[in-house]
């Protein structure tokens, strides 16, 4: 299983792997917002956490459709389906590798982009923490979407449409926890805990659904 994790990491940083494409997209989305909204620093710092979360959500959806499709195209998926190792475990490890390659760089890049949005140190820290807790959930939900669309040659948009409604709770609690850190009366911990619960919930449901979809999608 460690070998699968390392292989997927290697593939994502080699040519055409697309680990950095997510970060570049994130950077682009966040960087154009100040130009569109105008140089109102108070407004920027107020909408900052929300913009960072929207950017990170869209960026982490970007490479998801290739999660199983690339394996299917070269025949690797057939062999993965045949092993004694439960398919759920294989899917979970692939999700972890995908998140490490595409989700973690977004978390690491978020403080720099927070500066673009004139966010305070506390707001930047809180947003980074919520992204760290919340983005794995997006990948885990996305795995189920990617598995459903695995046989469709241009399933990228379909995956996004399938995944976005399920990712809305992640967005709501991620953003509300980030705001709670800077706005005084609202408590920070409860929304963060719910976000963590959502991630753990999808760590079970996501791979299970994806494994079922992959089994029935074989042709």
């Amino acid at each position: 299983m460690i070998s699968l994790f390392l292989r997927d990491l290697k593939l994502s940083v080699r040519a055409g792997g697309g680990a950095l494409i997510g970060v570049l997209f994130f950077l682009t989305v966040v960087a154009v917002v100040p130009f569109a909204v105008g140089p109102d620093l108070n407004l920027l710092s107020r909408i900052g956490p929300a913009i960072l979360w929207i950017g990170a959500l869209l960026a982490s959806l970007l490479g998801l459709d290739r999660l199983f499709q690339a394996e299917r195209e070269d025949g690797s998926l057939d062999l993965m389906l045949m092993q004694e190792t439960p398919l759920v475990v294989t899917v979970l490890v692939k999700c972890l590798a995908h998140w490490t390659a595409t989700g973690l760089p977004l978390v690491i890049a978020s403080p720099v982009l927070g500066l673009f949005m004139n966010m305070s140190e506390i707001a930047i820290g809180a947003t980074m923490l919520t992204l760290l807790v919340g983005t794995p959930a997006v990948t885990l939900i996305g795995a189920a979407g990617a598995a459903v669309a695995v046989t469709l040659p241009r399933g990228g948009l379909l995956v996004s449409i399938l995944v976005l409604p399920l990712a809305i709770p992640v967005l709501i609690f991620g953003v509300s926890a980030s705001y709670a850190a800077v706005e005084d009366p609202a408590p920070f911990l409860p929304p963060l805990m719910i976000l963590l619960a959502i991630t753990l919930f999808f760590a079970v449901i996501g791979p299970l659904a994806a494994a079922l979809a992959l089994r029935s999608a074989s042709d």
Partner: protein, 214 residues
């Protein structure tokens, strides 16, 4: 106890179309069957059904004498399909090392080392290259090396010798013979003679009965 692959009354369909029905055969350790027939007669479908990648419509595939922890016969099978299941971006060594460690070995056998496997398919010295740099024939040979690095008693081979030259054909026949001599089972779909002693299962096409000729 040596294993036996027992196929009874197997039928499969794709979409609404019945591809084949009522195919039965028994393979003991050391036996091979070559599946022949015109294009579209269901050779690949039969192999994918045996590999557990397609649902059966009726009939059973089972193993006799397999360890109790084996849930489905596919767990003791190697499947070499039309596609090589190797990543173009990774080197040959990285690809083989991944499959060796990911697949592991079945009971009662162990795979050979990566260098030994590459040597066995006659391509020693180029295993440091990315898989995508190799020619189609070399890629196919490296996909065969994958059969050697992780031990499975049953090999399901779909057109194994497509894109191979005559010397590779002979080399592959040698590998198959070795595998059979060690108590393996081979099911191969092919148009060319495989070069090993085998039974023939002739698929006659649309919804027809496969008959076994010895």
């Amino acid at each position: 106890m040596p294993i036996r692959l027992v196929v009874e009354g197997l039928s499969a369909q794709r979409g609404e179309d019945l591809i084949f029905h009522d195919i039965s055969f028994v393979l003991s350790a050391g036996q091979a069957v070559v599946v022949t027939g015109p294009n579209g007669s269901g050779k690949s479908t039969l192999l994918r059904v045996l590999a557990g990648l397609l649902e059966t419509l009726s009939g059973t595939v089972r193993l006799e004498g397999a360890p109790a922890e084996i849930g489905h016969p596919r767990e003791l099978c190697h499947y070499l399909g039309h596609r090589n299941a190797m990543k173009r971006e990774l080197t040959v060594t990285e690809n083989l090392a991944f499959w060796k460690s990911f697949m592991g070995d079945s009971a009662n056998g162990h795979g050979v080392g990566i260098e030994a496997a590459v040597e066995a398919v006659g391509l020693a010295g180029i295993s440091h290259l990315p898989f995508g740099y190799l020619s189609a024939g070399q890629q196919r040979r490296m996909a065969m090396a994958k059969l050697l690095v992780a031990y499975r008693p049953i090999w399901l081979l779909d057109e194994p010798t497509a894109a191979l030259d005559a010397s590779a054909d002979r080399l592959f026949a040698g590998l198959t013979t070795q595998h059979l001599a060690a108590g393996g089972i081979v099911v191969a779909a092919t148009h060319q003679p495989l070069g090993v002693e085998a039974m023939e299962l002739r698929m006659t096409g649309f919804a027809s009965v496969g008959e076994e000729l010895i």
